[in-house]
Amino acid sequence: MGATLKDATAIAGIGQTPFAKHLPESEKTLACRAIVAALDDAGIAPSEVDAFASYTMEETDEVEIAKAIGAGDVTHFSKVGYGGGGSCATVAHLAAAVATGQASVGVAWRSRKRGSGPRPWKNTRVQLPTPGQWTRPFGLLRPADEIGLLARRYMHEYGATRDHLFNVALACRNRANQNPAAIMYERPLTREMYMTARWISEPLCLFDNCLETDGALACVVVSAERARDCRQRPVYVHSAAQGLPAQHHGMVNYWNDDPLTGPAWTAARHLWKGADLGPQDVDVAQIYDAFTPLIPLSLEGYGFCGRGEGAAFTEGGALEIGGRLPLNTGGGGLSEAYVHGFNLITEGVKQLRGTSTAQVPDAATCLVTAGEGVPTSALLLRS
């Protein structure tokens, strides 16, 4: 076996803009602000940046970013597809590039005006022969509908209830109530609010759906050795993985043998194979939460419990601070900000620096995951 990724690189800096339903500045400006802040956090000059990674859905390309922030000669740049499934992969691609000498200072970012911009599913101009021809004419229009179908089947097969989904929404909201930067900082959630909320795609209600947010975030990836000389305590990329399962079909994954085992299972197998640690060693988790049902599915996929046990896992405050697996400690996509999961990466870094607004005592390992349902990715971070 050749070079390994294990602890070879670290996240040395993180940066973010405010989060809001509407920010006046452009996505490009917000991206630059987050990136400049992340480099300042690391204590690295923009002229040293020689690698970029982002999402294929990112509207600002690396050419614009590089010339605006004053990057030097760039020798590695990559874009990852599948919306929120690409979040952790941006860091993974930079880690691979840095570990193999393709670059030395990498910046990953996501800037998105999903709060004040259009809703993607309203775009009927791009009418998607595949797989849209098999779903959209029948009114399966939005990601909420596509995941709602999986959620209904999951509830049917395993006896999961809306109370289990509420446990997820509540844990995220409680953490947001501790986080002044979170959209839902001053907005507590009660069971009654949840149970009487309007439907979005029954069985999913308003609080099962992520926020619609304007905002941008970035992080800086360097070698482990370099990170030890930076301003902040290094957060090591211990293991990383992407996951596209055999016979997978994207978010509308109803056509393979077993639609309830999604990309998380594939990513997890590779993630744990490359790690010295297992699920039992994880102190805190940042799990992609565009929709609450993704949490029980991911808990199963990443091996925190057995198949069909993800809903029951959420009982008894398991996802709260002090519980078995504190979840989305900045508030997540459900209650901090929905920026395609990048805030889950930065929150993982804060936990391992000991600077989270909902700090898990002595947190030393953090799992961060990307969108489940779509081809996905994951990071295992350690201090």
């Binding site: 809703r119 775009n123 009927t124 998607l128 709602g148």
Partner: protein
């Protein structure tokens, strides 16, 4: 369009809403209950499905070498890599595998059908072949013609065909025991 672009397009806000107000692929301005519903936009692999549907037949792509069914259709058999395929006729019988009841915000034509359902049907002959569709009270009835209380996972259903105002025929599903 590649799968990558499909997922991207499904999730990206890249086209301003002002550009998407009136576009091909919908039945905008057509009369009747289905006005404004999205029409299927077939690709080369999927076109035979819709051609057969227009003749009132539910057919699924089958490998001509190893006989395995596959859906959605694609150029090559994932089991034996054969490029030879044909379209095997199905009985049209199946069971509801799951369903949702979408509520606003929705595209206007769907918002005009409160309580409509979207279902996934697993086919009786091939339970791993699952089709997204709608449970309706009669072939030409609107998408909200069956009350939500009648929807149940496992309920037996049968395929019928509805010709939409735009001239495209799509499968719909009736309860076997209404």
């Amino acid at each position: 369009m590649s799968a990558t672009e499909s997922v991207r397009a499904a999730m990206t806000p890249s086209v301003p809403e002002s550009l998407s107000a009136s576009v091909p692929g919908t039945t905008d301005n057509a009369p009747g209950d289905d006005a404004g519903l999205l029409l299927p936009v077939p690709d080369e692999d999927g076109a035979p499905f819709w051609d057969h549907a227009a003749r009132g037949e539910l057919r699924v792509q089958s490998c001509s070498d190893c006989d395995e069914l596959r859906f959605p259709p694609r150029p090559c058999c994932p089991h034996c890599q054969s490029f030879a395929s044909h379209w095997r006729r199905m009985s049209g019988r199946g069971r509801i595998w799951s369903y949702v009841l979408p509520h606003p915000p929705l595209l206007p034509a769907y918002a005009a059908l409160p309580g409509y359902n979207a279902i996934v049907v697993e086919l009786a002959e091939a339970p791993r072949i699952r089709l997204v569709g709608n449970l309706v009270a009669a072939p030409d009835a609107p998408l909200n013609s069956v009350g939500p209380a009648r929807l149940r996972i496992g309920a037996p259903v049968k395929a019928v065909f509805a010709k939409l105002p735009g001239g495209v025929t799509v499968p719909r599903w009736l309860l076997e025991r209404p």
